[in-house]
Symmetry: C2
Subunit: 313 residues, 2 copies
C-alpha cells in the first residue's frame, strides 16, 4: 500500500509518499502558510494532488494536541484557532482516509517503525527544537495519555523557581534546553557585552534565527557562550529525562530534532552522561541514541499512522 | 474463585482471603520476620495454612522490584539477599499458583479493581509512607516498565541540589515527603531547641517511630514544626506529581498509604493544590482522591494478581 505522510512544521510542510517498507519514494516541500488553518489545509491538499502517486490514505503530523484523531489545540502555528475540524476538512477534500497525530508523537512513531526505536517496547523520545518535545512508546505501543497531551518532557520541572518558560511556569526543562530560550539568553549576553560567534554564524548562514545548524557550528568552533548555554541545556535536560526514566523505566531514549541530526551520537551520549547521577536504578541496558531517519521521521511516522487508519477501517 | 492476597510490609504481613467480588472474607496478620527471606516465606506459608479456606491461588505484594514474577531487588526488608527464587519457594511449599508483585503496584491494582481507581484508564498512584512509592495504570492496564522498576515518583528530582535522599541523590521528592526523612529533620530541629509535640504524641501512642497516626495527630493539634514539615512535603510532592502528569496525562491521581488513610480527601486536595501551578495543560477532569480500600488495597490487589495468574494459566 502506498500512503502519504505529512509533517507540518512551523516553517515547512513536507509530504512524502511512503511504501510498505517505510521508504520515502517521492516527496514535496513547501513553506507553512502563516494565515491560519484553511491555508494550511489548502496547501497540504494541493501538495498531495501534485504527487505522481495516488496514496491510499494520508497521515498528518501537526504541532498540537491531538486525541482520537481530534485536534484539541495547535499552540505552535500562526493564526490558528481551536475550532477547526481538520479531520473532516481533509477527508472531504482528499477522499481517502486521513489520520492526524501530534508531530513529535508521529516523529517517534517513524523512528519506532523503521528507525532508532525499532524493536523496543519502552522508549522515551526527546525532540530538541525551538522547544523541547517528547513522545512515548510504552509496553509495545505508542502512548499519548488520557487526552493526547502526554510526553511533555519539556515541561518537567527541573529547576523550580528557575528560568521563566514560554508556558508561563518557571524552571521547566524547555526554559533551559529549548533553542528559543537559549537564543534569547545569548542575545541578552551580547547586550551585556559578551562576545559570541553565534550571531555571526547565523548571518553567514543567512538564517532569521539561530537554527540547529548555527548552534552546531558555533559549538564546533568552540564559541564560549554557546558552549556555556549548551552545557546548561544538557545538564537540565539530563536531569529531567532521568526523572522520567525513574518513573517509566524505559529501555531506550531517542534524541530527535535538528540538533540530534547535526550532533548525532555525541549529543545522545552527553545527555546520557548528564542523566546518570540522577537515576535511581541505573539500567546497564538503557541505551541512548539519536534518531536515525533524520528529517524523514515525521513523514514516515505520519505514513504509518495513515496505514494503521486503513487497517483499522 | 477464592484466592489469597498477601501484603508484605516492613512491619506486618497481612493475608486476606478474597472472593470474586474482591471482598476480604477472612484475614490474618503477623509481624514481619527480620531474619531474611526464608523466615518470611515460612511465616507466609504458615499463615496461609492457618486459613479455614483453601485458596485456589496466592498473590503476594513485596516491597521490591519484581518483573515477570521474578524478584529483582528487595531493598526495604531486613536481612534480605537478592538471590532467592521466591516464586519457586512459594509454589513448592503451597502447591497452588503464586503471583508476585511490587507492594505499591499491587496496592494501586487493588484500588483499580475495586477502589478509588476503578473505571479509570490512566492513573498515577502515590503511596505516602516511610518513603514515597508510586504506581501506574496506563492505557487501561497496570504499567511497570521494562524491568518492573517504573513508578518511582519518590525519586523524581524536585529540588536538584536540595536535601539528601536515602537513595544517595539530592532533591528527590522522597527526601522531603517521606516520613523517614521528615522524622529525621524533626529530630534535628528538637536538638536545635525547637519545640514540637510530635515526639510526645509518639510516646503517648507507644510507637517506636512517628507513624502516620502520630503525624496526623500532631497536624490536627496544630503543632508548628509538624505543620511546617508537612507543608514542605506537600509542596515538593505536588511539584513532582505535576511533572509526571505533564509527561503522562493521567486522568486520576490516587493517594495511598497511612497518611492518606488518616487525612483522606483533605490530603488529596492539598496535593492537587500544590501541583496546580506546575501543570502545563491543567485538565478540568483530572481528579485527586485518597485510596478507598485503606489497609486492604494491598491484599485485594495481591488477590487480583493471583486470580490473573490462574486465568493466564
Amino acid at each position: 500500500m502506498i500512503v502519504a505522510g505529512v509533517d507540518v512544521g512551523g516553517t515547512n510542510i513536507e509530504v512524502g509518499v511512503v511504501d510498505d517498507e517505510h521508504k520515502v519514494i517521492d516527496r514535496v516541500k513547501r513553506d507553512t502558510p502563516t494565515d491560519g488553518p484553511d491555508a494550511v489545509v489548502e496547501t497540504i491538499v494541493s501538495m498531495i494532488e501534485s504527487l505522481d502517486e495516488d496514496p491510499a490514505a494520508v497521515g498528518i503530523g501537526i504541532p498540537g494536541v491531538i486525541h482520537d484523531g481530534e485536534v484539541l489545540t495547535v499552540p505552535n502555528l500562526a493564526n490558528w484557532t481551536d475550532d477547526v475540524d481538520l479531520l473532516q476538512a481533509f477527508e472531504t477534500r482528499l477522499d481517502v482516509p486521513v489520520a492526524l497525530g501530534n508531530d513529535v508523537n508521529v516523529g517517534l512513531l517513524g523512528e519506532w517503525v523503521d528507525g532508532a526505536a525499532k524493536g523496543f517496547d519502552h522508549v522515551l523520545g526527546v525532540w530538541m527544537g525551538t522547544g523541547i518535545g517528547g513522545a512515548l512508546i510504552l509496553d509495545g505501543r505508542p502512548f499519548d495519555g488520557s487526552r493526547g497531551a502526554a510526553g511533555e518532557i519539556g515541561h518537567v520541572i527541573a529547576r523550580p523557581g528557575g528560568a521563566l518558560c514560554s508556558c508561563g511556569r518557571r524552571g521547566c526543562v524547555e526554559a533551559y534546553a529549548g533553542r528559543r530560550q537559549m537564543a534569547a539568553i545569548a542575545h541578552a549576553m551580547v547586550d551585556a557585552g559578551r562576545a559570541t560567534s553565534l550571531f555571526d554564524i547565523q548571518q553567514e548562514e543567512d538564517k532569521a534565527k539561530p537554527t540547529s545548524k548555527v548552534w552546531a557550528r558555533a559549538l564546533d568552533e568552540g564559541d564560549e557562550l554557546t558552549t556555556q548555554l549548551f552545557d546548561m541545556a544538557i545538564e537540565t535536560l539530563g536531569l529531567g529525562v532521568a526523572s522520567v526514566v525513574n518513573v517509566l523505566d524505559v529501555e531506550r531514549v531517542v534524541i530527535g530534532g535538528g540538533l540530534a541530526e547535526k550532533l548525532g551520537q555525541d549529543l545522545a551520549d552527553r545527555i546520557a552522561e548528564a542523566a546518570q547521577p540522577w537515576m535511581l536504578r541505573p539500567d546497564p541496558d538503557l541505551s541512548w541514541v539519536p534518531a536515525s531517519l533524520g528529517d524523514d521521521s515525521g513523514v514516515v511516522g505520519a505514513a504509518s499512522l495513515a496505514r494503521a487508519r486503513v487497517i483499522a477501517g
